[in-house]
Subunit: 347 residues, 2 copies
Amino acid sequence: QSLRIGLIPADGIGKEVIPAAKAAILALGSDIPKPQFIDLSAGWETFTRTGVALPQETVDILRQDCDCALFGSVSSPSRKVVGYSSPIVALRKELDLYANIRPVVSVAPVVGEKPSVDLIVVRENTECLYVKQEVQTVGEHGKEARATRLITQRASQRIGQMAFELANSRPRKLLTIIHKSNVLSITDGLFRETVRSVPTLPEANGKYDQVTISEQLVDSAVYRLFREPEVFDVMVAPNLYGDILSDAAAALVGSLGLIPSINAGDSFVMGEPVHGSAPDIEGKGIANPIASIRSAALMLRHLGYTKGADRLDTAVDQVIREGKVLTPDLKGTSTTNEVLEAVLRIL
Amino acid sequence: QSLRIGLIPADGIGKEVIPAAKAAILALGSDIPKPQFIDLSAGWETFTRTGVALPQETVDILRQDCDCALFGSVSSPSRKVVGYSSPIVALRKELDLYANIRPVVSVAPVVGEKPSVDLIVVRENTECLYVKQEVQTVGEHGKEARATRLITQRASQRIGQMAFELANSRPRKLLTIIHKSNVLSITDGLFRETVRSVPTLPEANGKYDQVTISEQLVDSAVYRLFREPEVFDVMVAPNLYGDILSDAAAALVGSLGLIPSINAGDSFVMGEPVHGSAPDIEGKGIANPIASIRSAALMLRHLGYTKGADRLDTAVDQVIREGKVLTPDLKGTSTTNEVLEAVLRIL
Ligand SMILES: CC(C)[C@H](C(=O)O)[C@@H](O)C(=O)O
Ligand SMILES: CC(C)[C@H](C(=O)O)[C@@H](O)C(=O)O
């Protein structure tokens, strides 16, 4: 038996950190099925070369020949380019990876970190403004552009179920629903009510009775995240709020370079560091590989390979705690490879 | 000559802080035209009493009999209530108060504050998802809700002009355009391009040549705000991003209870503290009046009463710096009235 992992480094530092994650996975030996890596292309560079940001071949191979995947990061053009649109947004939709799960945990001591952050942002991953239904018209006073924000009961329910499952599995069992229903009473109202009603669904059957539900408007949530992050356990949010919240949470624990995620659906999972392609440090070999290694761990855990996932997490946490081999984003002077090697030594 | 100021305390602590702002204005004596206050109603309590959240009378009097206004804060129902919608959002639109200007400045030393924050969030105040065009339908898989996000060239241009004016008047002359055009290429693309092109308009006529323009995706902007807030000077953003960003910035300087704003149009200005109605401390007499007093100062400054505005700001800054009379949000033990009295003593 083998584990077929699609690798899509895409752009910028994605090409530096995904190979590090691959090396870390390879070091797990018999704790996981024999990994088999399949290199796939997508991104801005792919677009400039081929005119397509997400080749159909990439999607087909992911669907047919992969058990899971790791995605790096994409660059965006600095101006609108006709025909280009983000391949990561498209992939999430194509593979119906409806949940973006982003744990943010402080390991301490890390420079600039707030201690005792231990939360998970559960971000809906397929709709909200990310449906990208936009039109431009010309009105009396010039151009007018409109985008549609879609919130469905179906998507809100399945992300709600995922969030309740996660909350229920954690010691504090707290779920905070993020919305802005004081303004968006219909769309965010539907999100809020649907998530709230998950425990009353027949299939829930009492299993979420221990979960405490609370709510927070998205603006206050960002404020509280910064002031008292320890109040949050699991946060569930529509797509765009989740995007912003997870960056906000990342800022609390020292660096975006530490924050992993998975894009999860019912039949596929794709790990992805939360950071972007970081054009400012691209090619310098100093990108932090930890977010990608942790994303690999999350992916393995989601697939049931707990032992392999635990080993990766333990090794990474130890490197952070020792604080000797850190990349510049954590005020260290080490390279991507040095951090990888430190992780591999512990593995 | 008199200065006619509409007072709309609305709900919760709005009813405690707006009277404090009124007292501070009254103490300015001949530095401003003789103030004449007109009490007006709006809000959730008004709605529960009358079935209308924003009485037409309030709008009419503001339009016809007021030079400016101070708004407190509104409570929202915890569930959707038919017929209720936020009176502050409606007022901004009714009076075409298209710019929401929110300066966030650290005075130090304040508990939990990041030093050297000195920025202004310039938030578009009339469109984006705040047009509240929402519909709910029933599809194959249950309920589906859609909201329209509107971005126009006209609104983007006028908020852009306001932002360039402000940036140009400040020592650093930096303007950061906030958007998410990697996903919303048409709507946020229009916002970005329109703001960028303000310096090339005939009426600009070289006057913004000294302003340095940069851009930041909204998710990264929140991240950077937490990590290195000193990089920002003036930030201009569509409505919802501006809402979130200003709360994020507020978290940097110790308390939302410090952050003022004005809602400004071409012919009217309304001061408004950025904090909400704070149901948890309502009625206890411990709400921080500083955001409201500062909002009064911003309003007076906008109207050209610089001397009065300066006096209010100087007094407030001194009270904060002394650190002896502070409300609980700043880890003090003083009441709203004690802070007001401290301000009045300096005035
Ligand atoms: C690159 C961009 C489209 C993406 C998003 O907004 O989802 C990124 O910010 C993320 O958080 O994964
Ligand atoms: C009360 C609410 C409608 C309002 C907004 O979202 O604009 C508030 O959060 C603000 O920032 O003034």
